[in-house]
Amino acid sequence: MKKLEVDVHHLTRVEGHGNIKIRVADGVIEELKLEIVESPRFFESMLVGRYVDEVPHITSRICGICAVGHTTAACRAAEKALGFDPPPEVGALRRLLLDAEFIQSHILHGCFLALPDFFGVPSVLALAETMPDVVKTALRLKRLGNTICETLVGRHVHPVSMAVGGFTRWPSRDDFLHVKTMIEEAADDLEETVRLFEAIETPSFDSPAERIALRSEGERYELLEGVVTSSAGDSVAEDRFDRIIRETTLPHSTARHAHTERGSFAVGALSRYAVNHDRLLPEAALAAERLGLSPDTTNPFHNNEAQVVEAVQCAGEAVRLCDELAAARPPGRFKAVARRAGRGTAAVEVPRGTLYHGYELDGAGRIVGANCVIPTGQNQANIERDLHRLVGVLLERGEGDDAVRLGCEMLVRAYDPCISCSTHFLEVEFVD
């Protein structure tokens, strides 16, 4: 007779507020849910009537952790709605900024939020006393991501100069070269991080999932744009994503559950790796090999390692982009895109997965409808499914409350959920 109750009120070391509730009676899981309890913020209501130029600044405030991602998605969706095609160097700079945000976010997650579990301490602050070098390395890498954003767009949390149509300030050649030097100087720290994760034993757990990420033509490990591609074989243009991804609302969460016709799916570092592993730079491919990653992995805990691989990938890609941008002719003085009616949807990879923004504008360039589908919401059904499987495995092994609780927390953390974003769902109201 197994009776067990796990109630993790206020899941810690994730961004935002969430709870895990599990009730087991007679060895059977009666209830299992990941609650997202953040207060709703009604961005949709707030956006209606605002001029399109303001939208990136408003939607950036959906989430301070992936602010570059939200801003990029908002700019791209707005540009599509306005029928504006930005010059290629604008795209290159956006990629560079995504790289910086990935480095900062993945290091924050890997070293600050996930790592303490592997050392049995409550926080990175405790690690600061026992393993100061590890923490200092992580802090340096995190600062690298921040400093790149500060140099290029003013700051990382709510980037300043990213605008519909381009950048209100174009960085100087020196800025790009300075950023490049900083990244190159971080090579040792990245190597340290790979080594750190090499030494950590990933919990073994088997839970296959359908994996979805953007993939583009060409050779790039794509983050900025492309075709929504599923490991199950589907692919669809970014503005048609709702053809394969459906959403339903569940009563216990202010986020929406997403699924494909096959059921739940996963997005994020591990999914990107699964979809784009053939496009990794050599140094990133080597890191993947050292960390024992495989594109058809069925272990969701491997997301931690996939993030480390992506940090290496993004650093390499960023150096390449710095060279490209330093050599490119800067675009002219920033001009706001002319306002007009239209509708546009864009997908962008953000650290936690694929992010979709869609807007509909009236003739004056004001928002009449907005839609935003965020990665944690897409993952939520899959997280709950994995939790189900994990609790089953742990119960079979006869583990007690504490082990179940820790296992569940670690699993949820491995997905790097960003709950701040999750509650800021906007209305899905696109009828084609």
């Binding site: 206020h10 810690t12 070391r13 994730v14 961004e15 935002g16 507020h17 207060s39 709703p40 913020r41 009604f42 949709e44 209501s45 707030m46 009537g49 605002r50 001029y51 303001e54 600044h57 408003i58 405030r61 959906i62 989430c63 301070g64 952790i65 602010a67 924050l108 600050f112 939020l113 303490p116 409550p122 926080s123 990175v124 602050l125 600061a128 100061p132 200092k136 802090l139 995190k142 600062r143 921040n146 767009v153 003013g154 700051r155 990382h156 949390v157 709510h158 300043v160 100069s161 605008a163 209100t168 300030r169 609302t249 009563p251 202010t254 920033f334 701040s420 769902f425 906007l426 209305e427």
Partner: protein, 268 residues
């Protein structure tokens, strides 16, 4: 150092984007130095566990639900010093954009298939409208250096002094040309400095995320922008992004949406 009690700090979060908490972690270089002088005992984003034993509470986010309000009052009871960090905590930030519209109506638009959650408050409020706030670090997000300045002054036993000069002063001295001259809507004259004028230095106009100075020249700025031919409605909308809690702005919003935003919707 053993023997010397470090002040205990809790970091708390209500309705917002968590960016200001992240700015605390973003102290990076100074974080370890700071940890030699304080003990962080409560920080959900970074730390498992928590206690009610803290002297200083750093609180981000607005109060937008009944449970937010209860929790904040408890924090106030526990903390000797309560510091609001960020625009959401200070002035509701852009959460306040939803005020002026009924919560139920907003809910039905965003979650059409779910019953209204009675926990959601009709109006989003800044911390100071719920409890006494000892000091505010303004901005969306907060500036790391300003946070450090405030914390070091508090650790020295002093009271931090809020800025009383406008962003314009900092902006000009940074060598920026004035965006108003370009016909842009810029609120630098209204907001207190301390952000290093980072927005205007990066070509984006000031949205007054740091709130308004006492006696901020709202009417002068409105007059000036209108003389430049800028649409009054657009100026008011922009002022409402971060300024919905400022009295002068509330009056302008009332002018734009008589009877609140619902009334207009009902009419149309």
């Amino acid at each position: 150092m053993a023997g010397i009690l470090k002040p205990k700090i809790g970091v708390f979060s209500f309705t917002g984007c968590e960016g200001c908490q992240l700015q605390v972690l973003n102290l990076e270089n100074e974080l370890l130095d700071l940890l030699e002088r304080v003990e962080i005992v409560n920080f959900r984003e970074a730390l498992t566990g928590g206690t009610n034993d803290y002297a200083v509470a750093l609180v981000e986010g607005s109060i937008s639900t009944a449970s937010d309000e209860r929790e904040l009052k408890e924090i106030r009871r526990n903390a000797r010093l309560l510091i609001a960090i960020g625009a959401c905590a200070h002035t509701t930030g852009l959460n306040g954009m939803r005020n002026g519209e009924s919560a139920k109506l907003a809910w039905s638009r965003v979650y059409p298939d779910r019953a209204f959650d009675a926990n959601v408050a009709e109006e989003v409020r800044p911390l100071c409208e719920v409890v006494d706030v000892d000091f505010t670090v303004p901005g969306c997000p907060i500036d790391r250096d300003e946070l450090l300045r405030v914390l070091t002054v508090i650790l020295a036993g002093g009271t931090p002094r809020p800025s009383t000069t406008p962003v314009c002063d900092e902006c000009r001295r940074a060598g920026n040309e004035c965006l108003l001259d370009d016909g842009r809507i810029c609120f630098g004259a209204l907001a207190p400095s301390g952000c290093r004028a980072v927005c205007t230095s990066y070509g984006e106009s000031c949205a007054a995320c740091r709130g308004h100075l006492p006696g901020a020249p709202v009417s002068e700025l409105m007059a000036l922008l209108e003389e430049k031919g800028i649409d009054r409605e657009e100026i008011i909308l922009r002022l409402g992004r971060f300024g919905s809690r400022e009295r002068a702005v509330a009056a302008l919003l009332e002018e734009l949406f008589p009877g609140g935003r619902n009334a207009q919707e009902a009419a149309s």
